[in-house]
């Protein structure tokens, strides 16, 4: 049985296209210091630091964690870098939590970031080697065929993707840190935007953001302030190219969810979870993950979306913060999901607080939907 671990501090930066006023070190410090302030602590109170970010090719800095060590108060302390592509933010939180659950440390600072404005993610994700054919597609081009396949299998009506895009952007209007703020957004506006990678429209796509997120994790005896207790943690991965692999609902995602639910004593996620922050970078991934995570039977996730169940006032709000569709500093996006889940059960989510949230899911995925990281946090001690 692992030692108890809690989130006692959360810090975020305002997500935006270009943070031209801060360096990378300044950006991560902004989030880290806000998380420490939230916990009523300073760098001196931290035992170890865990840093996560997506590929180094995004900013062109090899191993940025090495130069960020002193910016994050890690001089003379253990510092670890995590990298699991888009799910890295979630994995970073879980690596930090494991250091406390395993009894190694009492307080760990976890930080994740991306400064996408220093280059172009589509370029960085499409570096094809010689001998191949050039099909530069980026993340949208990669995921579009799998979304098309979901639409075919489930028979979901075409407008479901637009409904998610509207819902998440409306939620973003209530989140002071969110990047995209589109007052008056509606289905017609989303449907009037061009297809970038058909069937994905412009407004069904996440933005490119600069930003950082940080959390202070604590052992039971070192808790300060308002804790969000960790009830379960799980990571899974699977090979990208494997015969019979279901790219619409990957087995690794199902296994990861089953594991984290078992630890947290969740038998029916839709009933037992009050709010979920799930990595939805393209709108159709909401119905797809509703099924993969067991909130709906296969091919029926879209019905929950269409019925408004995942809206802020629905029975199982998804992405009350606006989600990845509204803010996407890639390396930090997973950690933001985990942090927002913690804010909800601490009752500190502000305008997008889900009333009375006791149990929350944080979720991240990455690569070609092949890396998964999840945690369940709650206001009650496990």
């Amino acid at each position: 049985m692992a030692n108890r671990c809690a989130v006692i501090g959360v810090g975020q930066t305002r997500y935006t296209t270009k943070r031209r006023d801060v360096s990378i070190a300044g950006l991560v410090r902004e989030a880290a210091i806000r998380a420490l302030d939230d916990a009523g602590l300073t760098f001196a109170d931290i035992d170890a630091v865990v840093v996560g970010k997506a590929p180094d090719l995004f900013e062109g800095i090899m191993m940025p964690e090495v130069y960020l060590a002193d910016a994050l108060g890690a001089a003379g302390k253990p510092l670890t870098r995590v990298h699991t592509a888009g799910s890295v933010g979630g994995s970073t939180a879980l690596v930090g939590a494991s250091l406390i659950q395993g009894g190694v440390h009492d307080r760990v600072l976890v930080v994740a970031f991306e400064k996408q404005s220093e280059s172009n993610a589509t370029w960085a994700l499409s570096t094809h080697l010689p001998f191949g054919a050039s099909l530069v597609v980026g993340a949208g081009g990669y995921f579009a065929p799998h979304i098309r396949e979901y639409m075919r299998r489930s028979g979901a009506p075409d407008h479901v993707g637009a409904l998610v895009a509207v819902k998440d952007r409306r939620n973003a209007l209530k989140n002071p840190y969110a990047h995209l703020k589109i007052p008056g957004i509606d289905r017609a506006m989303v449907e009037s935007t061009p297809m970038l990678w058909e069937p994905i429209r412009y407004l069904e796509t996440c933005p490119s953001s600069d930003g950082a997120c940080a959390m202070v994790l604590s052992s039971e005896k070192a808790v300060t302030g308002t804790p969000a207790w960790i009830h379960g943690t799980a990571m899974r991965s699977e090979p990208l190219m494997r015969a019979g692999r279901d790219t619409v609902s990957p087995q690794a995602g199902k296994d990861c969810a089953a594991d984290v639910y078992r630890q947290a004593g969740i038998s029916d996620p839709r009933r037992d979870i009050d709010v979920a922050e799930v990595y939805v970078p393209f709108s159709w991934y909401e119905p797809m993950w509703l099924e993969n995570l067991g909130f709906a039977p296969e091919n029926e996730g879209w019905k929950l979306t269409e019925a408004g169940c995942t809206a802020l006032d629905g029975d199982i709000p998804w992405n009350a913060s606006g989600g990845v569709l509204s803010s996407n500093p890639i390396g930090a996006s997973g950690l933001i999901r985990f942090a927002e889940a913690a804010l909800q059960v601490r009752g500190m989510a502000g305008e997008h607080q889900v009333e009375g949230a006791v149990t929350a899911l944080g979720h991240a995925y990455g690569g070609g939907a092949q890396f998964f990281a999840m945690w369940i946090v709650g206001s009650r001690k496990p």
């Binding site: 062109g60 001998f131 597609v137 396949e149 990678w197 019979g244």
Partner: protein, 321 residues
Amino acid sequence: MPSEAPSGAPSGARAVPEPLEARHVLEFPGGYTRTTGPVIGRFLTELRDRRIVGVRTAGARVLVPPLEYDPATGEAVTGEYVEVGPAGTVQSWAWVNTPRAGHPLDRPFAWATIKLDGADTSLVHAVDAGGPKAMRPGLRVRPRWRAEPSGHITDIECFVPEVTVMAAPVRAEYRVRPGRALTRFLEGVRDGVFVGGRCARCDQVYVPYRISCPACGSVIEEEREVADTGTVETFAINNLPDPRAPEVPFVSAYILLDGADIPMLGLVGGVPAHEVRQGMRVRAVWVPPEERTMSMTNIRWFAPTGEPDADLPGGAAGGGA
């Protein structure tokens, strides 16, 4: 001599003579002077030493450029001079696309009101920003000083934006060699065939050829040629142009070649993008044999065969998951 144009002359009768015109310059020989008075004199003296000063009013505001009086009250200012700037913040601006002879810069620039750090009023000066997109209220700027100052406002040639971003060139150059498995596959592609490999334990055929099974880890020993025909499982229509990619719109598709158990990503061509369907039967279109190399560029694209569409598993309409 009458100089007015014959504006009242009837038209048409005779050609109207050109109005008489002459150049006339009014310039006081040697140029006017401006006696600065003590306050502006102090300002220009400091400017010559590359310092910018303002003067404090009785109400404790700092006027830059300084005046002998507080424009708000008419009262004399105090004798206290305050060094300000040299950096400041753009308050408002107007872009000058075509500079005139008397302008401080010979290239497009902005006129801006700039509030120097420590000042309570704004100074009008030029900003050399490159283009109007670089200008915004709140932009931080600093003076670019003239090489030989003389005690004139043009001792500041102009203001320039502060440094906020620098170039960071990164370039990595590699020699890339395909491994044994990819070499074998490319040999096949050179000869116009797709070489796969069958995992004996899983009974699955992988293409491109590989020597270990991603599912069970076994060594794949059996080569298996697969067809150059297959079925489009799913696809995207790419509308975002990229210099390295085919011309948009292009269709990138997962194609399950006949005899393979895993789809390959390929370009679909020879058909309008919006006529591509899931289940469509396609065949590789190879470049002529004499143009082939050990590269996937040997396959121009996959084009429809014209056969009836294949059934795909697990459709909601077709039933059965």
